[in-house]
């Protein structure tokens, strides 16, 4: 039986083992005017996004899930974070395709027009191009190391050994 509440349109976290956060009900009764071009970020949406951004040290807003990205740019971003060795325990992904308030709201919240969007320690890092450039020039590795969000070396070794 499905136990998920029918009205929970909230951001469903797309990350693997991560706990499910209770964003529900924030979006159920606040759908105001539906204009695709001009939409103001409601207080509730802003708060929900704020919480999402702070849910783990590394947060990616993407199209689709890490397992099945729905856009080449989101896929590339996930791959980069994987290559860098970001600790899954410190990472969460939010699928913007599951919630239109999130999809529009995050653009205003970050003042950034496209998705994916990466946050590290609640700070906006950039979209796919910036991530790619930082991956290539070594800045990303440096940032992730500084923020201590990579899989610990000993854990990696333990996983690698049979």
């Amino acid at each position: 039986m499905f136990t998920r509440p029918v009205l929970s349109s909230a951001f469903r976290q797309a990350a693997r083992p991560a706990p499910t956060f209770a964003f529900a009900s924030k979006f159920t009764n606040t759908r105001t005017s539906f204009s695709p071009f001009v939409r103001y970020l409601s207080q509730e949406t802003r708060q929900a996004i704020d919480k999402a951004v702070g849910s783990t040290p590394v947060v990616l807003f993407m199209k689709g899930t890490p397992e099945t990205p729905q856009c080449g740019f989101s896929r590339a971003s996930i791959q980069i974070l994987g290559l860098q060795g970001v600790d899954p325990k410190k990472f969460s992904a939010f699928n913007v395709l599951e919630d239109d308030d999130l999809r529009q709201g995050i653009k205003e919240f970050s003042e950034w027009p496209t998705i994916p969007q990466l946050y590290v320690d609640k700070e906006f890092v950039g979209g796919c191009d910036i991530l790619m450039a930082m991956h290539q020039n070594g800045e990303l590795a440096k940032l992730l190391e500084e923020k201590k969000v990579l899989v610990p070396a000993e854990a990696e070794a333990a996983e690698a050994s049979p």
Partner: protein, 110 residues
């Protein structure tokens, strides 16, 4: 700009030259024909002393409506000085999609 107007390479180029005083703009339609995905090389003195993030934000501001209307936007921003250096070293940035066989980005609209 009306939300449903078609975004063209020429239109994007004009805006960037006018509003960012860009000295070099290359726009590449990498959508494979649907007009939804563009990549760009932009060289402007206004990028001076700005981080990549700030440069992108500047471009995003100028092309707010256009970017909202398309699915994919991949800018590469350089200052005139960087651009000269890149050319001198023979590693000019190439707009992604330029020399591909029409690789299409799958996904949904922005």
């Amino acid at each position: 700009m009306a939300g449903n107007a078609v975004v063209t390479e020429a239109g994007l180029k004009t805006k960037l030259i006018e509003q960012l005083q860009a000295i070099h703009v290359e726009i590449e339609d990498m959508s494979g024909g649907c007009g939804q995905a563009f990549s760009a090389i932009i060289v402007s003195p206004q990028f001076e002393k700005k981080t990549t993030l700030m440069r992108h934000r500047l471009v995003n501001k100028v092309l707010k409506d256009e970017i909202a209307a398309i699915h994919a936007w991949t800018p590469k921003c350089s200052t005139p000085e960087q651009w000269e250096q890149q050319k001198a070293e023979g590693r000019e940035p190439v707009a992604p999609g330029k020399d591909t066989t029409g690789e299409v980005v799958t996904g949904t609209t922005a």
